[in-house]
């Protein structure tokens, strides 16, 4: 039975009207809840949300009942999460939030990624560092409602006035009696929904704000089969797929007869742009694939790296002014300018993309590591020409996401093969395919101009940045957003100038590239901040002003400006920042603000035998309330190591129409030896609510390293990855 409550929550003042539904008879006892959202144009709101500091609200799917919190007969709690766990610690944060509001022992909570059948799917997918920030209030309201509901039932069962009852770790306690939540909920026939009760005050938090152990730690140190690639369905076959290696080519002709005679009961499924080779085992599928003779069409253009650089540069493509304050530089006015580039970047998450699909009787089950559960469901339904209702997408833990799993059409291909063969199919990429078919971080090109004023601060600054698609053309942000916004909001991340320079502008030059580019952790932030903060540093040297002071002097005296100033001041302090070179080592400072979370880094770098080594990094982040400070720090450390990897090693290039390299090793990445021995993170809380964490610390790391190198060598490195010639 179901009952609804349309009351607006009375506390705290919530932007959204949330309706809650409660339902029993799920085999266990459960509470179902709906999160509804109110904004008129979701697409536009979403776009701005990504571009600016807004946190998109939880965007639950429509009016269907959503199973969120479930109390089992054994008095354990299962949380069905609308967000997936890709390492960022969201499951732990969610457990902490619910445990506090519900008053439940966190060790008795299990968080699982909700399948589409349970109803909790987030239209926005998991990404943009928004998970905890967007769920913080709705989850607490839901848990508080559930707590009240349990108290009501307990009052009836114990025959005690509800005001005399209180909760304690999953039990309801009165003077001398107590019953567990599960007992209180047992056999309830008629639910009466309370108004959303008052939320717990901060001082009562037992879990929120504390460095609680990760809820998934045990699985992750014992090798539990929790990832998409570990999934199995009985009677399953293994598939590998041939795809074109040259940009723009398709299958011309193919001879599969030799392959079909290979061991493993080889089956072939052919479509226009791919050819599936399916066998009893993955090794057999791979071996048979090697025997396929295939001719690819020759595309009109064979791309090279030079072509790409020429195609993608400031001055080409769709121009959009993303920031404009004051006036422009006059024609022959003297200025200083620098040019920066960043390469094509690979996601290189260690778990390859793939999916297990079982299609039969007009229904599909998909088990997959994905950041976009809802979109995957829709894509599969469309490809199979069945209703979404008949597609159940079961998300697993992700062996890394970083934006790569916002495009997971492996589900569609696996489903097509399963449909044709009438058996469940597991299909995943080899590493070579992963590198060749990535949805890459687009290369960028930047020209920055500036002029110092009489006060020796910047009087004028202009940032031109050219980028391939980041948000445009992604399944999350269909092409229409570009028309709405006129700009690629993903490429724009970090592209505007955060300093209060009287005359400043930022101009985006956007172009869609001949290969897929998309979201890569922090989107445009990495390259934009590298360029901007390297430039600012160079100008501080020109001005002869301490780099910290130079920045502080140009930041506004408003709440945003002050929060940026605070992270800069703090990082100077904890690093004991020294502007002077010390033999072959030096410190570099850089800062940025992304999705409302300002971050500053000081990198201590040394050069030995012509090798750049990042010895130490100091990081200060203001992410508002840190629900789990230890995991926030883990995200800072991870971002810093990933940023070091991108800044010093990683680079994809185009040769003869194909994208290289095609494996780890050749695609150089930071290893243990390249990671700093010490990363010291300090968190500031400039606002009361939680803000995004997983990407902001990626911003300043490249420039912090480059600025240190500048002090050691006297040379400004302007191309990522940075190399000493």
């Amino acid at each position: 039975m179901t009952k609804e409550n349309k009351e607006t929550s009375n506390q705290p003042k919530s932007k959204s009207r949330r309706r809650f539904i409660v339902q029993s008879g799920l085999g266990t006892l459960g509470i179902l809840a709906i999160g509804t959202i109110v904004f008129r144009n979701p697409l536009r709101r979403m776009s701005y949300g990504v571009a600016e500091t807004l946190i998109p609200p939880y965007a639950g799917k429509g009016n269907k009942a959503n199973l969120w919190l479930e109390i089992t007969k054994e008095n354990n709690l299962v949380i069905h999460s609308s967000k997936v766990e890709m390492g960022q610690g969201t499951f732990t944060g969610i457990a902490q939030i619910v445990a506090d509001e519900l008053d439940f022992d966190i060790t008795k909570i299990k968080v699982i990624a909700a399948s589409t059948d349970s109803g909790v799917t987030d239209l926005l997918g998991t990404g943009g560092s928004f998970s905890i920030a967007s769920l913080f209030t709705p989850l607490r309201e839901m848990a508080a409602t559930m707590r009240e509901l349990i108290k009501q039932e307990a009052a009836k069962k114990l025959n005690i006035d509800i005001t005399k009852l209180y909760t304690s770790n999953g039990t309801i306690v009165a003077d001398d009696q107590s019953i567990t939540f599960a007992e209180a909920l047992n056999d309830v026939k008629e639910w009466k929904l309370p108004k959303t009760p008052v939320l717990r005050p901060t001082k009562d938090y037992k879990y929120i704000g504390k460095p609680i152990q990760r809820v998934d730690i045990n699985e992750k140190v014992t090798g539990a089969p929790i990832f998409g690639i570990d999934a199995e369905i009985e009677d399953m076959l293994y598939a590998t797929v041939l795809r074109p290696e040259i940009i723009g080519s398709t299958i011309e002709s193919v001879n599969t007869s030799a392959a079909e005679n290979m061991p493993g009961n080889i089956r072939i499924v052919k479509r226009k742009n791919w050819l599936g080779v399916i066998a009893d085992s993955f090794a057999e599928a791979l071996a048979a694939k090697n025997e396929i003779e295939i001719n690819w069409t020759t595309p009109d253009k064979i791309w090279t790296e030079d072509d790409l650089r020429e195609y993608l540069q400031v001055g080409n493509g769709n121009k959009m002014i993303t920031q404009k304050v004051g006036s422009q530089l006059k024609e022959n006015e003297e200025e200083f300018s620098l040019e920066f580039t960043s390469p094509i970047g690979a996601h290189a998450q260690i778990e390859p993309n793939g999916a297990v699909a079982d299609v039969k009787d007009g229904k599909a089950t998909i088990i997959i590591s994905t950041q976009v559960v809802f979109i995957t469901q829709r894509q599969v339904a469309k490809a199979l020409n069945i209703s979404s209702k008949n597609v159940n997408v079961i998300p697993t833990f992700l062996g890394g996401g970083f934006g790569r799993r916002l495009n997971t059409n492996h589900a569609v291909i696996a489903a097509k093969m399963s449909e044709e063969l009438g058996r469940p199919v597991k299909y995943f990429f080899t590493r070579k395919e992963e590198f060749q078919n990535d949805t890459f971080r687009p290369p960028t090109h930047h020209i920055i101009k500036g002029k110092l004023g009489e006060n020796n601060l910047l009087e004028y600054m202009e940032h031109h940045y050219a980028s391939g698609d980041v948000a445009v053309n992604s399944a999350l942000m269909p092409g229409i957003t570009n028309t709405l916004m006129g700009t690629d909001v993903g490429a724009m991340r970090g592209g505007n100038i955060m300093y209060n320079i009287p005359n400043r502008r930022a101009v985006q030059w956007h172009r869609t590239l001949p290969f897929a580019t998309s979201w890569w952790r922090s989107l445009g932030l990495l390259a934009n901040t590298f360029a901007l903060e390297s430039f600012i540093d160079e100008m501080s040297i020109k001005a002869g002003i301490h780099p910290g002071q130079f920045r502080l002097n140009m930041l506004e005296d408003d709440s945003k400006g002050n929060r940026i100033k605070n992270v800069i001041k703090e990082v100077l302090k904890i690093s004991n920042f020294n502007d002077k070179t010390n033999g072959n080592s030096a410190m570099g400072l850089a800062a940025s603000i992304d999705t409302g979370s300002p971050c500053a880094h000081v990198a201590e770098v040394s050069i030995k035998e012509n090798r750049i080594k990042v010895d130490k990094v100091f990081c200060v982040l203001d992410c508002g309330l840190a629900v789990n400070p230890d995991q926030v720090k883990a995200q800072c450390e991870g971002s810093i190591n990933m940023g070091i990897s991108a800044s010093l090693f990683e680079k994809m290039t185009i040769k003869n129409g194909a994208i290289f390299p095609e494996n780890f090793g050749a695609y150089q990445m930071a290893l243990m030896k390249d990671s700093p021995k010490v990363i010291e993170v300090k968190l500031l809380q400039g606002v009361d609510d939680p803000l995004p964490v997983g990407e902001p610390p990626l911003g300043p790391i490249g420039a912090a390293i480059g600025n240190a190198i500048r002090r050691i060598t006297g040379k400004r490195l302007t191309d990522l990855p940075m190399k000493l010639s």
């Binding site: 390492g87 140190v221 293994y238 993955f282 998450q349 260690i350 190591n641 780890f664």
Partner: protein, 164 residues
């Protein structure tokens, strides 16, 4: 072909094409999923296991070569009750993020500590060459030192017990 070996302490015989990389035999034939596939060419370390106590990247190791040998995977390094000291240290330092690379690092570390019970930072850099995309290196380094401590402490405890 039939291949007999010891897996995590137990006798095991499987029937498989001997040239199949051991990784797939372990994952799909035997069904232990803790050993991961990352690259298939011995570059990432996600598939690291022990063969006769030595760390090996199983993605390039032909299954036929394990005949008569002893194979240990992540599923076999802890006891019934307790985690392996390396796993314990990993929990204490809260190392994993996505977790995908972690079995490989734990196996590589366990083998390193057997050879070199108290490695220096440079020795760690030298021998732990797996890839972690989430960038958990900083915590791993701490955890490796911590695991060395736990090992040492356990050895002392055993010695003390024996003296009694």
């Amino acid at each position: 072909m039939k291949i007999s070996f010891k897996l995590n302490g137990n006798d095991k015989t499987i029937d498989i094409d001997g040239s199949t990389p051991l990784l797939w035999a372990i994952r799909d034939k035997i069904g232990l999923k803790g050993t991961k596939f990352g690259c298939g060419i011995a570059q990432c370390g996600a598939c690291t296991i022990h063969i006769d106590g030595v760390a090996v990247r199983s993605c390039i190791y032909p299954t036929e070569m394990i005949e008569g040998k002893s194979v240990t995977t992540i599923e076999g390094i802890s006891g019934e009750e307790n985690l392996h000291p390396v796993q314990q240290a990993w929990v204490e330092e809260v190392v994993p993020q996505c977790g995908y690379c972690q079995s490989g690092f734990i196996m590589a570390t366990a083998a390193l500590l057997k050879e070199n019970p108290n490695p220096t930072d440079d020795e760690i850099d030298e021998s732990i060459r797996n890839i972690c995309r989430c960038g958990t290196y900083t915590r791993m380094r701490k955890a490796i030192h911590r695991a060395a401590e736990i090992n040492l402490k356990q050895a002392e405890d055993i010695e003390n017990d024996q003296r009694k």
